[in-house]
Structures are given as structure tokens and as C-alpha cells.
């Protein structure tokens, strides 16, 4: 079996494990809900007043005014509440332990063991702490893409739907994407931005060579030396074949161009995350239809500058932060579709509200954290809006969603009801990559 086939076999096994979930506790719960009397913001269609939403077996069955309540449904009056799709944080550290380098205050005994900064084969899924991840639901977040923040090639992300008691059971897409952070390493190659680009280019060249080597061996193994298995190069294969996206984390304006140059050279699918100055390239992004995951981590929008940068340029730092804050509204004005993502901001929704304060219309912001995010991540066929047939990821809000006073009263993930405690726990500013 080729390494690629082996890898796909593992993926299938993981899926099988997912399906083979024993019909234990979760299945015993009420599986049919009808939320009645709410204002329903479907996102994909019109907003409906005094309407009903029916969920069955984890899937939305019906949405509309005057939809009959099925006799087997548990009916919940939702008068005065606003229903929206569950919020999606499409680029986050949700459920990941704090990195060891953050010091005793943040990391301490729970710090993650250092992992290779150049490990495309690493799976974020293996690092998720379920209890930590589930806390994100308090803020109405039902779906997250998880990838470690550290490293240049931090591995492959997972998209989790936040219901279940095991990370595997929560996986909505595994692996979700391969990731390249346009950052650098200390005292190790690549130690410069140009080194990082060169490293990515060489990795892809090596992955092509690896593919060809194995393909030739598979065609006629007799008389040939067996190629060597390489987990890192095997990890690139789905990206090369166009089955998986390469998500490039852009810290600088031109990182977007760098990502597109890599996409063009190797004819692979690329998405861009972070991108605090993406609005400057709005036309290019629009023309190229780049899936764009715009960060709301405004402070600071980029890592500390390395040797060669202008140190102590506070004016520039301030302008960069201003740029990042108006980035979403400028992109919206330019007609670019995008997701808003936490990009490791400790408080995702505070960042989203900041973008709204800086001119992004609230409806556009809501779309960017629901359907827009689902589109960018390639999961809009299953979640991101309130439509029959989609996963029952639904939030019932007291107050207007994405305002400071909004509270998630009920959060349905895969049609499973979760009720955040009253009062909602205040987010800890120290929590690395917390979901809120």
C-alpha cells in the first residue's frame, strides 16, 4: 500500500470510528426539538419573525412561520429570542493547551510539550482538550477550526462541531487543511521570511518527487528498491492532488501575494488566514476568489519584528492596528466575501464587535461568522445557515446577536441542547486561544 493509500486508510478508519459511536448517552436524549415563536435569522434567506425551527436527529428539519410542530418534538417557547446559525470560528486555537513559551502565568503545569515547528503530518485533533474546547459554546460558538499557533508548518487542522465527549466524535472535517504560517523560527531554518517561502517551495518539490517515486514503485515494484516512507511528505499529498487546502497564515500584506505565488507555481488550492491588511489587495483577492479567513486579533496584528525591521516604530505599529481593525469593513465595502476568525484572539466576539464598531455592518459580521466562514472552509453544504437539511447548529440569543449585551441562552450543536450557565462565566484574558 502506498503511504498515501495508507494515510487515506487511516482517515477512513477514523471516520468508521466516528460512525461506530455506541448508541449510549447522547442517543438517549430527546432528538426532536421545536423552537417556537422566535425571530429567526437564517443568514442564507430572509429573516423570519414569530417563526418555528424544527430539529430532528441532529439535522434541521423545518424553518418557517407556521411550520407545524411534530407530535414527538420537545417544544421550547422562544418568544423574544433570536435564532442564528451557530457561530463558526474558522481559525483558532480552541481547546489547545497554552504553549510552553508563554511563561508560568499562562502555561505552567498544563503547558503543551514542545512539538516540531516543521511537522505537516501533525494532527491538531490529537492535541485538543475536549473540556477546554467545549467552553467556546458559552459564547454561541458551535464550530471551530483548530490549528496550533506555533511553528511554520504546524500540521493539519481539524474542524470540530462542539458536541460530544471525545475529540474524534466532534470532528466535522478531519483533516481540515494543511497549514503554513508565514513566520520564522529562532536559530533554526527557516529563520527568515525568505527562508520560510523557500522551505515551503522545497517541501512541495520534495512532495512531488515523493509522489512520483511511489507511483513508479506501485506500477512495477519488481526489481526496484522500495522507496522510504516519509510522514511529512506523505502529509502534503492531498494538497498536491487538490483534495486538501493549504491555509497560509498571512501577517503582512504581501504574504497574500506569497500565498498566491505558491498556489500558482504548484497549482494547489490556497486559502489565506489572518491577513490584517487584506483590504489593500481586495481586487486581487476578489479576482482570484481566495478563501479568506480574516483575523479579529487586533492587538498585535503581527508577530514581533525580526532583525532588519524598524524597531520602536510606534507610529507604524499604531497604523498597523488601525488598518487591521478597519480591514473587515473595507473588505466588505469592496465586495469581498470572507470569514471573520479569532486568529487566537483571547476573545473572539470582542474582536468581531470591534470590526463592527469600525464600520462592518452587523448583518455582514454575522454572515462572516456563520455562512461566510462555512463557505471559506468548504462546509457550507452542511452548516453555516438555518436551512432544512443542514446540521442543527443553532443559537438562541437574548438580545441582538453580536452586540455587547447579547447572551447565548441555548446552544444546539448537532441538535444537542446546551444551556450556558447563568451568569455566563467571564472570559479569562490569559486563556490561550480560548473560544470566546
Amino acid at each position: 500500500m502506498s503511504p498515501e493509500a495508507a494515510r487515506r486508510g487511516l482517515a477512513v478508519a477514523a471516520m468508521a470510528a466516528l460512525w461506530a459511536r455506541p448508541a449510549a448517552a447522547p442517543a438517549a436524549r430527546t432528538e426532536v426539538y421545536a423552537l417556537v415563536g422566535a425571530r429567526i435569522v437564517t443568514v442564507s434567506g430572509p429573516t423570519l419573525d414569530n417563526a418555528t425551527l424544527v430539529m430532528r436527529d441532529g439535522v434541521i428539519e423545518a424553518v418557517g412561520a407556521g411550520v407545524p410542530v411534530p407530535p414527538d418534538a420537545r417544544t421550547i417557547r422562544a418568544d423574544g429570542l433570536v435564532l442564528t446559525p451557530g457561530l463558526i470560528d474558522g481559525f483558532s486555537g480552541t481547546g489547545l493547551p497554552a504553549p510552553a513559551s508563554r511563561g508560568p502565568g499562562a502555561g505552567g503545569a498544563t503547558a503543551a510539550p514542545p512539538s516540531s515547528p516543521l511537522a505537516p503530518q501533525a494532527m491538531a485533533l490529537d492535541k485538543v482538550r475536549v473540556a477546554d474546547a467545549l467552553k467556546a459554546r458559552d459564547a454561541g460558538i458551535t464550530t471551530v477550526l483548530v490549528i496550533p499557533r506555533e511553528g511554520v508548518l504546524p500540521g493539519q487542522s481539524v474542524i470540530l462541531n462542539l458536541s460530544g465527549d471525545k475529540a474524534e466524535a466532534m470532528a466535522l472535517k478531519q483533516p481540515a487543511a494543511l497549514h503554513l504560517h508565514m513566520s520564522t523560527l529562532a536559530r533554526q531554518y527557516p529563520g527568515s521570511l525568505m527562508g520560510t517561502v523557500a522551505y515551503a517551495r522545497q517541501s512541495l518539490d520534495d512532495a512531488i518527487h515523493y509522489r512520483d517515486e511511489w507511483a513508479a514503485y506501485e506500477r512495477a515494484p519488481a526489481g526496484k528498491k522500495r522507496p522510504r516512507y516519509d510522514a511529512a511528505l506523505a502529509a502534503w499529498q492531498d494538497v498536491l492532488a487538490g483534495r486538501e487546502m493549504l491555509v497560509v497564515t498571512a501577517f503582512r500584506e504581501n504574504d497574500v501575494r506569497r500565498a498566491l505565488a505558491i498556489a500558482d507555481e504548484f497549482r494547489i488550492k490556497v486559502a489565506v488566514a489572518g491577513a490584517p491588511q487584506a483590504f489593500r489587495l481586495a481586487d486581487l483577492i476578489k479576482a482570484r476568489k481566495v478563501p479568506l479567513l480574516v483575523g479579529v486579533n487586533f492587538d498585535p496584528p503581527r508577530p514581533a519584528r525580526a532583525f532588519g525591521g524598524v524597531l520602536g516604530d510606534e507610529e507604524k505599529e499604531r497604523r498597523d492596528i488601525e488598518d487591521a481593525e478597519r480591514n473587515p469593513s473595507e473588505l466588505h465595502k469592496a465586495g469581498v466575501s470572507f470569514a471573520l476568525v479569532s486568529a487566537y484572539a483571547p476573545n473572539f466576539l470582542a474582536g468581531v464587535r470591534k470590526a463592527i464598531e469600525r464600520g462592518l455592518p452587523r448583518e455582514a459580521a454575522l454572515r462572516a461568522v456563520t455562512l461566510g466562514a462555512a463557505e471559506a472552509l468548504g462546509i457550507a453544504d452542511r452548516t453555516g445557515s438555518l436551512e432544512p437539511g443542514k446540521i442543527a447548529d443553532v443559537v438562541a440569543w437574548a438580545g441582538d446577536p453580536l452586540t455587547k449585551d447579547a447572551k447565548a441562552k441555548m446552544v444546539f450543536v448537532d441538535g444537542q441542547l446546551y444551556e450556558p450557565e447563568e451568569p455566563a462565566p467571564s472570559p479569562s484574558p490569559k486563556a490561550e486561544g480560548g473560544g470566546q
Binding site: 531554518y189 529563520g191 527568515s192 525568505m194 523557500a198 504581501n254 501575494r257
Partner: protein, 415 residues
């Protein structure tokens, strides 16, 4: 349909730095970014934009053969002493305001180099100062490829303290060994590919194609150096290491295109000339480290007298704005003629970058990269009034001064 874009610079003293010499009250006609005519009594075509240069001096745009301007983040990939695979073209920061400031010094082309941390550093980018254009539009199209080498204290990390064990090489003999090992490896790599290509050819359409060898971007570049496809720009100071690099290059049958800094070049000027290399130096920087103690300001003049094509470079965003004065110092120290001194910031660096057919002098057919000075560029009070790249005015002092006094707009000044 739009007609050709015509520009006429009229009335000035034209320092062509080419066969036409100096032309008083001359004119330069530009058509679609190229110089269409140079001389006296030229007819200005209808529809041309006229730039009145009366009382001013018009010279070819200045070329800086050693720059680190517009590099985003680190200029060095310091993690290894051989990093031929990294490319400055990947990290051009087109918003670096130094590009504009250098236009204000009459500069139109830069050789943007990797730093000198490594024995064999990264690939260079030759760019034009088309301020406001995205990175890919700054590149000097069809300029020969180039790479940075470095010898002496920087690659052996003499003056830098970093945590951890010292990086190899830590001595000058280590630098030489790294060069030799690298090119031996490149030779082996080249043979491996040649054998593969021979095998593919002999098989024709028959049978199983052999698998290509692994493509190493680092060794590809070294192989191309061996094949003479890449210009080597070597940072160096001491005479002994200059001779060492000439020996290595001749052992492996490739050429050094320029010695950079080359402060002891005057001691081995004949050897540099015999190898066919150019020299890109400072006018009078010296003693900023041990290997720079034997510098003399006559270096440029002495090397030029021995037949070396010499340029004055900046290695600095700040000095790059006054390279015309650096050239003037060659007149003061060593009695270089005015035109030879002008060549040190125009035609000679153009040759060093292999773009002398395109830029470096005001000649018909060349790119209209032109600096217009208020006085002779060697005069102490000379300043740049306008700088054109491809016939387009990218710096205009009058407009700049007006903008400085205009009320500040809310948006930033960068394009």
C-alpha cells in the same frame, strides 16, 4: 487607440555618460519609456509632455549595486552558511519608503542583495524604483540572475554573538572549505541530473521512465553558478580572501561578477582585472571592523586605473540618496575624470549587473531612466529635481515640497 507616450526633456546640460558625451542646452526625447533621441536642436513632437530643464543637469538614473532596501523582515537567512535557495524576490516590500527617498537621490535601479551572514547567501533582486507599483512590477525584467557570497568576518560570525554553539565556518579557512565542499556537491548533483537526462534520452518512448533525482533548490542554484547563469556578488575586504575566491572560482570554472566592498582591492587590482570581475566599493568608509582597517580612499581610482570596472555603492538606505557625491570623491581621491566618476554610479554598476544594454547612459534605445539635477551632480549644492523611470516621473521635488506644506490628509502618504 492611444498614441505613443512622448516626453521631452529640453534645455538642460545632458551628461549622457555615453558616446555623445556632454551636450549643452540639449534635449532628450522619450517614446513609450525608451530614449528615442538625444542631441541639440531636436524637434519636440506635438503631444509630448515637455520637462523644462533649463539651467539643470540631466544624467542617467543612478544604479546602486549594493542595497538592502525594500526587503521585508530579515535580510539574512542565517541558520546555515549556504542558503542559495532563498530569494530576495520573495520578500520585496514595495511600500518601503526608502524607495521613494532614494528616487529623491536620483537612484532608479537597485541591486537588492541578501545579507553577508552566509558564505553563499540568497538570490538577489534587481529592481527599478517604480514607487507605488506592486512587488512584481518593481523587478528589472530580464536582468541576469545574481547571488550573494560573503567572505571573512561576517560569514565566520566574528562580530556577532548568538546563543548556542558557534556556527560552522568560524574561520577564513572554514569559509574556503565551505565554498569548495558546496561546489563539489553541486558538481555531483549536476552529474546525477546529466546521467538521468541521458538515460531518459536513450530510452526514448520505450519502457519505464526512470525517476528523476530529487530537485534541490539549493543545489540547482549552485549548479547554475557553475554553468555561468548566475552573477556572483561577493562581499569581501581583505586581499588574501579576494585571491582565495578567485582561485576557487577558477578551480570550478565560474566567474565572480563583482567583489563587493573590496576595501583592499587596490592591493590586488590586477588580479581582479585579470579574472574579469568588477568591484563595487565605498568611497571612504573604513576601520569599522578589523578587516576594514587597510582601506584607503584611493581604492576606487587605483582599481579603475588597473582596468577594473568600479562602482560606488551604498549598502545603506541613507547613503543611497547621495551616491552622486560618492562618485565625486573618486575625482578628489585619485584624479578620476568626471565622466569616469559618473560611470561609477551609472554605466559601471549597469555592467556589473549585466543590464548595460538597457540602462546606465543616455543613449537612443535605452530605458528612459533619468535624474535631473539642479546643478552639476558633483557640486556641493546639487539636488535632484526630478527622477524618471521608464520615462515616467516618479519623483518631482516641486510636487514633494508642495505636498509637505499641504494640509495633512487623514489617509497615510504611502501609495
Amino acid at each position: 487607440m492611444t498614441g505613443p507616450v512622448l516626453v521631452a526633456i529640453v534645455g538642460g546640460t545632458i551628461l549622457t555618460v555615453g558616446p555623445q558625451g556632454t551636450i549643452e542646452k540639449g534635449a532628450v526625447l522619450i517614446r513609450d519609456g525608451k530614449i528615442a533621441a538625444v542631441g541639440r536642436d531636436l524637434l519636440v513632437p506635438a503631444g509630448a509632455t515637455v520637462i523644462d530643464a533649463t539651467g539643470r543637469y540631466v544624467m542617467p538614473g543612478i544604479i546602486d549595486c549594493h542595497s538592502h532596501t525594500a526587503i521585508e523582515e530579515s535580510v539574512n537567512e542565517c541558520s546555515d552558511s549556504v542558503t542559495a535557495e532563498v530569494r530576495i524576490t520573495d520578500v520585496i516590500d514595495h511600500r518601503d519608503v526608502n524607495l521613494y527617498r532614494e528616487l529623491a537621490g536620483g537612484v532608479t535601479t537597485l541591486n537588492v542583495l541578501h545579507g553577508s551572514c552566509n558564505t553563499i547567501g540568497g538570490q538577489n533582486a534587481v529592481i527599478k524604483l517604480r514607487w507605488g507599483k506592486p512587488p512584481e512590477e518593481l523587478l528589472f525584467k530580464d536582468a541576469p540572475r545574481g547571488i550573494k557570497f560573503a567572505l571573512g568576518e561576517n560569514p565566520k560570525r566574528s562580530n556577532f554573538r548568538a546563543p548556542g554553539p558557534p556556527r560552522y565556518p568560524a574561520t577564513r579557512m572554514g569559509v574556503e572549505a565551505v565554498l569548495r565542499e558546496s561546489f563539489q556537491e553541486a558538481q555531483a548533483y549536476k552529474r546525477e541530473w546529466e546521467e538521468y537526462e541521458k538515460k531518459v534520452k536513450s530510452l526514448g518512448s520505450r519502457g519505464d521512465k526512470p525517476i528523476a533525482p530529487r530537485k534541490s533548490l539549493r543545489l540547482e542554484e549552485l549548479k547554475d553558478i557553475l554553468d555561468g547563469k548566475v552573477y556572483v556578488h561577493a562581499h569581501c575586504y581583505r586581499a588574501d580572501e579576494i585571491l582565495m575566491l578567485i582561485r576557487i572560482a577558477e578551480e570550478f570554472s565560474f566567474k565572480i561578477r563583482t567583489f563587493q566592498h573590496v576595501l583592499e582591492g587596490y592591493k590586488v587590482a590586477s588580479e581582479i582585472a585579470r579574472h574579469g570581475a568588477g568591484a563595487s566599493t565605498f568611497s571612504d568608509w573604513w576601520a569599522y571592523k578589523m578587516e576594514a582597517y587597510d582601506a584607503i580612499p584611493y581604492n576606487a581610482a587605483i582599481m579603475a586605473a588597473h582596468g577594473v570596472k568600479v562602482s560606488m555603492n551604498s549598502d545603506s538606505d541613507e547613503l543611497a540618496r547621495r551616491l552622486y557625491w560618492e562618485a565625486a570623491k573618486a575625482v578628489k581621491y585619485g584624479g578620476v575624470s568626471e565622466v569616469e566618476a559618473l560611470k561609477m554610479v551609472t554605466l559601471n554598476p549597469a555592467w556589473q549587473l549585466g543590464i548595460e544594454q538597457r540602462v546606465g547612459s543616455i543613449e537612443v534605445g535605452k530605458d528612459a531612466d533619468i535624474a535631473i539635477f539642479s546643478a552639476h551632480p558633483f557640486a556641493p549644492d546639487a539636488r535632484v529635481e526630478q527622477t524618471l523611470v521608464d520615462g515616467v516621473v516618479y519623483f518631482d521635488r516641486a510636487k514633494d515640497v508642495a505636498a509637505r506644506t499641504a494640509p495633512a490628509t487623514k489617509a497615510g502618504g504611502s501609495p
